[in-house]
């Protein structure tokens, strides 16, 4: 059936099974390859995107549940987000496969809690696995992004 999605501010219409997970609409129907398949059971977080501002595991979110929602994927950050800048400054990724999910989770964390404590960062990132072991750098990058975003906000009129 025809389903209308709002992805990264654009309205897109696709003909797909309403039970299909959002991940495959993004990857196979809309050509947005940033979100990754890792487990299919919401256990690894590689597929994380934002739905109405919340971090969701798109591998288990059926399309019918997000028909009118605001969906934001890594492509919506356009490479310009302070979290992405911090990720480069801290040289976070190794293989990189999980990192788009990590970044979307981190963006959501900072939107909900602009100045997280160390424990809040660690707990907030719990759902996204990294096999290369980049957790220490993710923590440092989130701290850096939080500082950058707070400073920017404080400096603006």
């Amino acid at each position: 059936m025809q389903i209308t999605l709002k992805v990264n501010g654009q309205v897109r219409s696709i003909d797909a099974d309403p039970d299909m997970p959002l991940l495959w609409a993004l990857r196979d129907f809309l050509g947005l390859k940033g979100a990754k398949y890792g487990c299919g059971i919401a256990a690894c977080g590689a597929c994380t995107v934002q739905v109405n501002g919340r971090a969701m595991r798109s591998c288990v979110v059926p399309l019918k549940s997000v028909a009118n929602a605001e969906i934001r994927s890594i492509e919506g950050l356009a490479g310009q987000h302070p979290v992405q800048q911090a990720w480069l400054e801290e040289q976070v990724p190794q293989c990189g496969y999980c990192q788009t999910g990590q970044i979307m989770q981190a963006v959501t964390l900072l939107e909900q809690n602009p100045n997280p404590t160390r424990e809040e960062i660690r707990a907030g990132m719990e759902g996204v696995l990294c096999r290369c072991g980049t957790y220490p750098r993710i923590e440092a990058a989130i701290r850096r992004a939080a500082d950058a975003m707070t400073t920017k906000k404080a400096g603006s009129p």
């Binding site: 495959w24 293989c95 990189g96 750098r137």
Partner: protein, 707 residues
Amino acid sequence: MISRREFVLGSGALAVAVSVPLRSYAAEKAGGGDEFVTAYLEIAADGRVTLHSPTTEMGQGTHTGHAVIIADELGVDLERVSVVTAEPADPFRRNGQMGSGGSWGVRFWYQPLRKASAQAREVLVAAAAAKWRVPAAECVLEHGEVVHAGSKRRAGIGALAAAAAALPLPAEPALRPRSELRYTGRNVPRVDLGPKVRGEPVFASDVERTGMVFACAVLSPVFGGELEGFDRDSINPVPGVLDAVAVPGGAAVVGTHTWAAMRGAEALKVRFKPTPHDSLDSATISRQMRAALAPEVSAVEARRDGDWAAVAKAAARVVSADYEVPYLSHAPMEPWNCTVEIDGDGVIHIWAPVQTQDRNRNAAAAAAGVPPEKVRLHTTLLGGGFGRRLGSDGIAAAVVTARAVKRPVKFFWRREEEFGQGWYRPAQVARMEAALDAEGHVTGLRVRTAGPALSNSFSAQGLPAGQLDGSSVQTIRESRYKPSAFLVEWARVDQPVPMAPWRSVGATQNGYFLESFIDEVARAASRDPYELRRELLAHDPRALKVIETVTKAAGWGKPLPAGRARGMAFVESYGSLCAEVAEVSLRDGRPVVHRVVCALDCGSVVLPDGVRSQVEGGIVQGLSAAMGEAVRIEQGRAADRNFDTYPLLRFTESPERIETIVIESGETMGGVGEPPLPPIAPAVVNALAALTGKPIRELPLSRHSFA
């Protein structure tokens, strides 16, 4: 050998062969000399510099290391240099195979890349000097230009490449002094991170081809099982499903998109043939391995220093302990997939995340019944490897599917196949014995390991009976500890479970066995485990420096808050010496790792931040395995098939602090991708034993109660 010309993409380019000596294990055993692997350094007419290399980038940073070495020695800005993984061809092969592993990426390539870059620099400078009729010695190459200061003339290397290509390469070019190197030894951004952070399509799973369909594998859950048959009609009700194809090891369900193929795979009614090991389980494997620890079971000797029997007889006491570790899954975050397209000339193009290009290309050719020349393998960036992508078990089914459906196919495994198909780090047991004299000095060590032979499972030719499986005694056989007697042997207990090298390979389990046992011996002798190691390494200043450095930085011996303890371990692998101290406590019966200090002597360093990144990653992955990883085997198959029951370390369990100290001893450059991993498990185990007073002789830690 491939001629220079085949690597010249445009006219007017300069190509220099980079010859890298890599002595194979087989050649070493036969007393043979070096074999050479080649890469090609190309300087194009537009001034861009490209290394066509057999190395694979799977996140370890090798390509950045190579770009830095070239940029420095040649004299160009780093942005101009790119490294691409070449298609398999003779010059890239070692033992007839192109592949990446063994933490070779930088340590074996450093000098050859410098030499080739210096050769290119000297002919570029000579070409400019001849053109300007000035002495070459008055010209320098910097920022991609040859400059003659006296006449203020300058020319880009692209414009000089054609003339330089006509000149003979100097046999012994002068290398730049360290003071002229702009990038080596400094913090340089990785070349592959921008696209990864922006979410650009860089992985095999992101590859798109026109008219592509998707194929989901349905493979025998029992190891090595074969397809008996399937009910083709069972997939008909699934929208978007096109076909089901019989493939080696099972079937593939083809659909117009991933979800259709996955739904079809769930719907497919499939039957597999029985195997002789349909009832195999972990308890049986454990029992068989432990039975082989008995002295009357024959074993292959791996090391014999002195006379163990005499030392044991003369000892005041002999301390003994048995250890066991389970099978481990590599669990790269990107499950296996590849994209296959057969062109109008019958050439099979494959885009795949592999560490062993020839092995995969040959498997693809065999599956299609064509010569390997008809297969073109394009290596993408890998979404993790850790040894799992050394195998070729996923490629034949992809080729068979593409030939059946006659369209480009993205063939993929679900996470359940990625876990279930095996190729694990071997399960293994060990009996450790130490002879102590009346003063508590270690006079002898005896180690017997027992388990399946990794090399028999993984190598095409297998391991003949009576021969040693090197990885089953890796790092113990070569241990720098020198008691007056040291006997190491291995008993073979084959199992039908497929195995592959897992990051740090045999050093993962053997490092845990030896280093945990050293602490047990220290406790038995009422000695400080650091002091005991110092005594065993007294003859070896390089090793002493590593353990001195790590204990000093970690505050060894200084008081800790109540409920915390330190543990240390020292493991050498892949040419580097690595010691770690872990600071651990217990919270709700679970270990908490507060701090890890690592000292790594890898000789010398190209990318300091790259080394730190590998140390952090190795510690986290090694801790992950120690804390909770085990593939449980039931009914001839993996019981753990996804992250819900095979727990990778999560953020909250990650060490709160990791400190890395790199020791540049100036010794032969060692690896950094693997050596930081093995010490973490014994360091944490030793800290826990210090806390609780109880040794931990089985991993993972989740099997133990610390309440």
